[in-house]
Amino acid sequence: MIVGRGFVWLRRIGLTALALFVLVPLYAIAITSLVPTTDLDKPFSWWPDDLTLAAFGDMWSTIPLAHYLGNSLVVTICAVLLVLATAIPAGYALARMHFAGRRLLVGALIATQAVSGLLFLLPLVLLLGEASRRSGVTLIGSYPVLVVTAATFALPFSIALLGRYFAAMPADIEDAAHDLGAGPLVTLTKVVLPNARPGIAAVALFAFALSWGEVLFTSVLSDSGTRTVAVGLSGYAGQDAAIWNQLIAAALLTSLPLIAAFAVMRRSLVTGLGTAMGSGE
């Protein structure tokens, strides 16, 4: 693209304005976590007189934060693995194989994206309650239920992305592997997957972000033993006695893994999305 003087000035002004739009609220939120608890009643100031890191230490005892974080880790890691284990074969089947019911599957996947999660949540709670009553196994509040629901929400997008990503990869190598006698599963694991890292990384990141921040379903489907950090902190924020500097400190700490993952994986995310989206239509 040709870059004129007008473009350079537009870029300078536009990007500065956007950077402020992102940074100023972030700064204002972050500075709150450094204000001493005794100063929380004072009006907001851009440069608070006293700053302290105490909130980052105190939060561990005010909120069962370590417990929440542990639950979030268990649920999120299992959900990401489940998404990869199910979406990779499904995406490969969509990209490379012919089968009856294909349109039905794609249609159903799109349909699930069109309706609010609430439509599923309510009947799901009733179904799980009924299943628990009949089987005697407590389902609501259990890890497997949280993992499967969290994973399923990431599935439609993950399958679509991986399907398009695999379709965009040249089929020659797979044909060659087949000619050499490799079965479809060997071809998938040994030939396709090593070349599909950006696409898989994009999907893993998407599933991680979705599961880590999920509030609606987890608030209803978890109990005090399995409560995740997203639900725990949202609930704590609703209490009148909430101590906001600690709350914000905990929220920022909770966001760190995600921000780090996005920052580190930004390039493969763009490559993965670009390959998947450039595959025509």
């Binding site: 040709i2 990007l15 309510l122 914000i248 999305l273």
Partner: protein, 308 residues
């Protein structure tokens, strides 16, 4: 050609094996509950019959009448919420795409510090929605919040401190937070889309004397158009069904100006325990969404035909 047929014969059952785990998850979490939701919407299920819902009596279209009738107390709220949700969706999607496209184009040409800016711009989207909403809720506090401090104490734009989390302004607070959170998604997707624009096309356009704007208008836009429409569609679905932002910003009962269909359904389902009516509202809102999507696709086809 022979090779192709053996592969297909061998893998006649294989696609189903590969798809089975997905099918099980979708069936359990999406399909079965969705069907049950349809059934629930035709039954009288409230706080009294909830404990034994399998035996609840059918009541035909009664729930729909109560949920949708403009004269019924819930129906009146619902149609207001539908209007608010539509305005909210149009504003958020429009603003997010405009900002995202602008940033993606500005950052498509290398310059010093580009990588830092790109990472910075992803941060609002990388933050979990509940963290963003919590933070903004604190900034929006009327007496001690940063927003009013900036508007009233620093910039002196108004003499009186406006309320942001109650009353009419709540809608704008909700729009601002959602745009702040979602525009990086448009930015990210459109950045990826821009990588698919062939460099030769820019060169050809340059040889023909096209300046920056003309290149953007006649090379960049047509190439990223299909992906841009995908971004619009995804953002529209997310925004129309947005729940976390209003739920964290305003709590269980958002002000009327900021009540979305999703918060209304949540209130009916988990607040007043009017499960049948909530299910009916849900079905109706899904139908509205599908209808709008259908009309948009049809309108797009028509303009495409006209353009051709």
């Amino acid at each position: 050609m022979r090779r192709r047929t053996t592969l297909e014969a061998e893998s006649r059952w294989l696609p189903y094996v590969l798809l089975a785990p997905v099918a099980v998850c979708e069936l359990l979490v999406h399909v079965l509950p969705m069907l049950l939701g349809l059934v629930l919407s035709l039954h009288k299920i409230d706080q009294y019959t909830l404990r034994n819902w399998t035996g609840a009596p059918a009541n035909g279209l009664d729930n729909y009448r109560r949920a949708l009738g403009p004269g019924a107390p819930i129906g009146a709220d619902l149609w207001t919420a539908v209007g608010v949700t539509l305005a909210f969706t149009v504003l958020v999607v429009g603003l997010s795409c405009a900002i995202g496209l602008f940033a993606a184009v500005m950052l498509s040409v290398p310059f010093r510090g580009r990588e830092i800016v790109r990472v910075l711009f992803i941060v609002p989207f990388a933050l979990p929605a509940f963290v963003t909403s919590l933070g903004w809720r604190f900034l929006f506090e009327r007496d001690d919040g940063a927003v009013n401090h900036l508007l009233v104490d620093n910039l002196h734009l108004t003499a009186h401190r406006p309320f942001w989390l109650v009353g009419g302004h709540a809608f704008w607070a909700e729009v601002l937070v959602t745009v702040w959170r979602l525009w990086p998604f448009a930015f990210l997707m459109l950045t990826a889309a821009l990588t698919t624009v062939p460099r030769e096309q820019y060169e050809a356009a340059a040889i023909n004397g096209a300046r920056s704007w003309a290149q953007f208008r006649f090379v960049t836009l047509p190439t990223i158009r299909p992906l841009g429409l995908l971004v619009v569609a995804v953002l529209a679905l997310w925004t129309f069904n947005e729940f976390t932002v209003p739920w964290v910003l305003f709590g269980a009962a958002p002000p009327a100006s900021a009540s979305l269909v999703s918060t209304l359904v949540y209130r009916e389902a988990f607040g007043t325990l009017d499960v049948g009516v909530a299910a009916a509202t849900n079905v109706a809102s899904a139908v509205i969404l599908v209808l709008i999507g259908y009309l948009l696709v049809r309108a797009r086809r028509r303009t495409a035909v006209v353009a051709r």
